[in-house]
């Protein structure tokens, strides 16, 4: 119990909050989730909050569908999170 408690408090110590992509999906079918996580964590491991998603394969109408939770994004950017390079590119598109 004590170790679990201290591990929770360690959530943001020794590492900084990053907003980056986590890869999911099946073979030959990638699916990215925009995620606010501790930078020391595994790419697909536990995250602080999911902020959106991106489907890199175009659908029947020829679109790449992406969703962004702007309200929570503003919160994390205000808290001082950093962005990875592909996350910057994605967020730069809608301006």
């Amino acid at each position: 119990a004590f170790s679990a408690g201290s591990r929770l408090l360690r959530g943001r110590r020794g590492g900084h909050v990053v907003i980056r992509f986590a890869l999911g999906g099946c073979t030959n079918r990638p699916f990215f989730r925009l995620v606010a996580a501790n930078s020391k964590r595994a790419r697909d491991g536990t995250y602080l909050e999911q902020l959106g998603c991106l489907d890199p394969l175009p659908n029947a109408f020829g679109e790449k569908v992406a969703g962004l939770n702007l309200e929570r994004l503003r919160y994390w950017l205000g808290c001082g999170a950093q962005l990875s390079r592909p996350a910057e590119k994605l967020l730069g598109r809608p301006g």
Binding site: G52, P58, A60, F61, G62, E63, K64, V65, A66, G67, L68, N69, L70, E71, R72, R93, P94, G95
Partner: protein
């Protein structure tokens, strides 16, 4: 000019819809359960029918009739810098939970660098993907195309089509309005008003017919079924919508009621006078024989 959602208009349409309990509570296909018998006194039976009437009233609330929404054509930015970096469109949806769906930002970045707001169809699809609603499909079913609608009408399933349409589309989208107009015109062509009589689509149908001045079939149908109050309310609604026609002025001057109102209306407005006169005569004979006997 009176709109669909005015109090007076709504009361008139509600009276015309009729309240056939057997049809409103017709068993929807659900899992089989053995029927439930209860032993009740007279007072309890009245209480139960009263509660059933109130529930039926909520079931008969009419879906709104709105004008067609205008296509969105807003370009937010043009960045020639990005041209050629992509091959496909990118659609961005704002997923904040507490924003109403109408005000969401859904933007599309085209391959030529233009950033524009998404069209209504794209908006509906995206909202259905991220916030799925029961009864809707992401891509509208092929049932709603014109050639398939004809097959459904031959099977007399207008009501099911309209219910599916309400679940799938927004009330002010082009497809919704198109499907509804097709249904109403088919019903009027074949005179199948009875199919929609006790459902919540009846008001919309009456509104459509009255605004296009094609009420003759409906009037004949009502007189044949001895629904004179409905016929009078239909004509009052007609007068409310088209106050400049001659029968409206005569009715206001004379303050006519009941059968006289219908006769005046028939003389001035309708195209199928002969039919309506015959129907009225038959009705009056039936009234005379029933009151005599």
């Amino acid at each position: 000019k009176p709109a669909f959602s005015d109090e007076a208009v709504q009361t008139l349409l509600y009276k015309m819809t009729g309240l056939d309990l057997h049809k409103v509570f017709r068993p929807v296909k659900r899992g089989l359960k053995p029927p439930h018998y209860k032993l009740m006194t007279e007072a309890q039976l009245e209480e139960a029918t009263r509660k059933a009437m109130e529930e039926a009233k909520t079931k008969l609330i009419m879906p709104p009739v709105l004008n067609e929404r205008e296509p969105i054509d807003d370009v937010l930015a043009e960045d020639k810098v990005l041209e050629g970096t992509e091959t496909t469109k990118y659609v961005f949806t704002d997923l904040s939970y507490s924003i109403p769906h109408r005000e969401r930002f859904i933007v599309v970045r085209e391959p030529n660098g233009v950033l524009r707001k998404a069209t209504w169809e794209e908006r509906d699809r995206m909202i259905q993907i991220f916030f799925p609603k029961e009864g809707r499909r992401v891509i509208p079913p092929t049932l709603f195309k014109d050639e398939n609608l004809g097959t459904v009408f031959q099977q007399d399933r207008h009501e099911d089509v309209l219910n599916m349409c309400i679940a799938q589309f927004e009330p002010d989208s082009r497809d919704y309005i198109r499907v509804h107009h097709r249904t109403y015109e088919d019903i009027e062509k074949h005179g199948k008003y009875e199919l929609l009589r006790s459902t919540r689509h009846f008001g919309g149908m009456v509104w459509y017919l009255v605004s296009r001045k094609r009420t003759d079939g409906l009037l004949i149908d009502m007189i044949n079924r001895d629904l004179l109050e409905d016929a009078t309310s239909l004509i009052t609604l007609y007068h409310m919508l088209h106050p400049e026609c001659q029968s409206a002025k005569e009715a206001k001057e004379g303050k006519l009621q009941g059968v006289d109102l219908i006769k005046v209306f028939v003389k001035t407005e309708s195209q199928r006078e002969g039919y309506i006169q015959l129907a009225l005569q038959a009705y009056e004979e039936a009234m005379a024989t029933s009151s005599a006997s």
